[in-house]
Symmetry: C2
Subunit: 275 residues, 2 copies
């Protein structure tokens, strides 16, 4: 889960997300709309009897705040929190498992703030189902094929060419979450070619100055990041409450980058991953 | 406002309470359901441009938590917070203005925890409207009458007896808020004869042991406090989520103290104040 504003628990309930399934929480920065709901969620996990470790990928200061709140409520959590504190203004690997890596993306927001880049790891080649059963391959041979190797005879000559028996790996999905930040083309290199980019778009063009002064972005600026980085799809969010209708934000962004959608609460996005 | 759990801002909005009208917030203890919504409310007050001072009547530790959160969000509030930190296990005067006093009521809840006793101050006598205009009294004479004095002639003899020109003062309203606490008859003396008592009633009789172990009260225990203290009306709240229907809690309390109602969200209570 990324960020956790006040009331997140209500939204998780509303959208039927089981909190027991959340094992990593990433916090982008310590403005209230991004973390005031965290301590409540951590408490609820405790009350619900959670015992498995929770990883909290967090800015400097969050561990101190949480610890102080737990101290004063005399709560000793039944589960361990694994605090991973990222370093502001640096790109760091903050999480890795067999499938994915997560790196920080330095944001420009006046306070220590970080986006997150999710990348699927390199995948192995896939065995052609049609030839698989005929050849009676051993597990070792299958593993070699998946790694891209040819199968050899004992004299070293090629028995089966890899390309005849395998297909390219499934494509790797990548997602960049960028909130909150001033327009910052410095991130383009790092998020190049991601399938999906979430970028804050607090303001429309009419408030460009205010966007800069408050370290936020306009719709066009977000779209221009998406265009420069050649992303698959852009999702805009974090809209100022001044915009009752969001059409202006969507339309302005689309003039720069057509593949744009709005992050309206509860929306699910289908993203195609090109091979 | 007393206590401020997560989501309080949503409820204030729902019930059309203007947050600009809140000038004092009292926090009973540092369990999350009583204060996790506070930092968000304080931030919103700041964002809405509040400039007038806010009084925060709080347990030890809250000032430190709030300060740390403001520090890490690099927020400098546009208004001053006047922290009034109460001392656990003591009865203290924590607020006073021309109309009322507020004293702490020591609770028995495992962590530093305090209820609050609101008392209207002694009121002045009221001038009989019928006689008022006929007598052509001076402001000084009116003030003397309100203070219960007779009006004298210059030779010291009685010109008008006070009792002929005045009525008894309006009755003084008093309210005791007691949450969270184990059954604690030690508070009865302090809350004797209050017009209205809010007392937590987390459990019904079936969970009496659990109530004691978790420093909470049953409905009957709350009702027995109300009876012993001879209060005007008892309101029960802080129900465990295990009770989907609250009838059992209300009925059990009424066997001990009939003038009992449930604190269901949004309910307004009419309380008569006997002269």
């Amino acid at each position: 889960m990324i960020d956790c504003g006040e009331g997140t628990q209500l939204l998780l309930k509303k959208h039927q997300v089981k909190i027991s399934k959340i094992d990593q929480i990433l916090i982008s920065h310590l403005h209230g709309d991004h973390y005031f709901g965290l301590i409540g969620l951590l408490s609820t996990m405790h009350l619900f009897g959670r015992e498995k470790e929770l990883t909290l990928i967090a800015p400097p200061g969050l561990a101190e705040i949480i610890s102080l709140q737990l101290k004063h409520s005399q709560t000793w959590l039944m589960y361990k929190i694994n605090f991973v504190e990222w370093t502001p203004d640096e790109i760091e690997l903050v999480f890795e498992n067999q499938q994915i890596t997560i790196h920080t993306i330095p944001m420009d927001h006046g306070v220590p703030c970080s986006g997150f880049l999710f990348k699927e790891k390199e995948k192995r080649r896939r065995i052609h189902r049609e030839v698989f059963s005929d050849l009676n391959l051993s597990p070792l041979e299958i593993s070699r094929l998946k790694n891209g190797e040819d199968l050899l005879n004992s004299d070293g000559s090629i028995k089966y060419e890899n390309s005849k028996l395998t297909l390219d790996p499934h494509p790797r999905f990548s997602y960049a979450y960028c909130s909150d930040t001033k327009y910052n083309p410095g991130i383009v290199d790092q998020i190049k070619d991601v399938n999906l980019l979430y970028h804050e778009s607090t303001f429309a063009d009419d408030m460009e100055k205010r966007a800069h002064n408050t370290f936020h972005s306009t719709a066009k600026e977000a779209a221009s990041i998406a265009k420069e980085a050649n992303v698959g799809k852009l999702i805009l969010g974090h809209f100022s409450a001044r915009y009752r209708e969001l059409d202006v934000i969507l339309e302005e962004a689309k003039t720069v980058f057509p593949e744009t959608e709005l992050a309206i609460e509860g929306t699910k996005f289908e993203v195609s991953v090109n091979a």
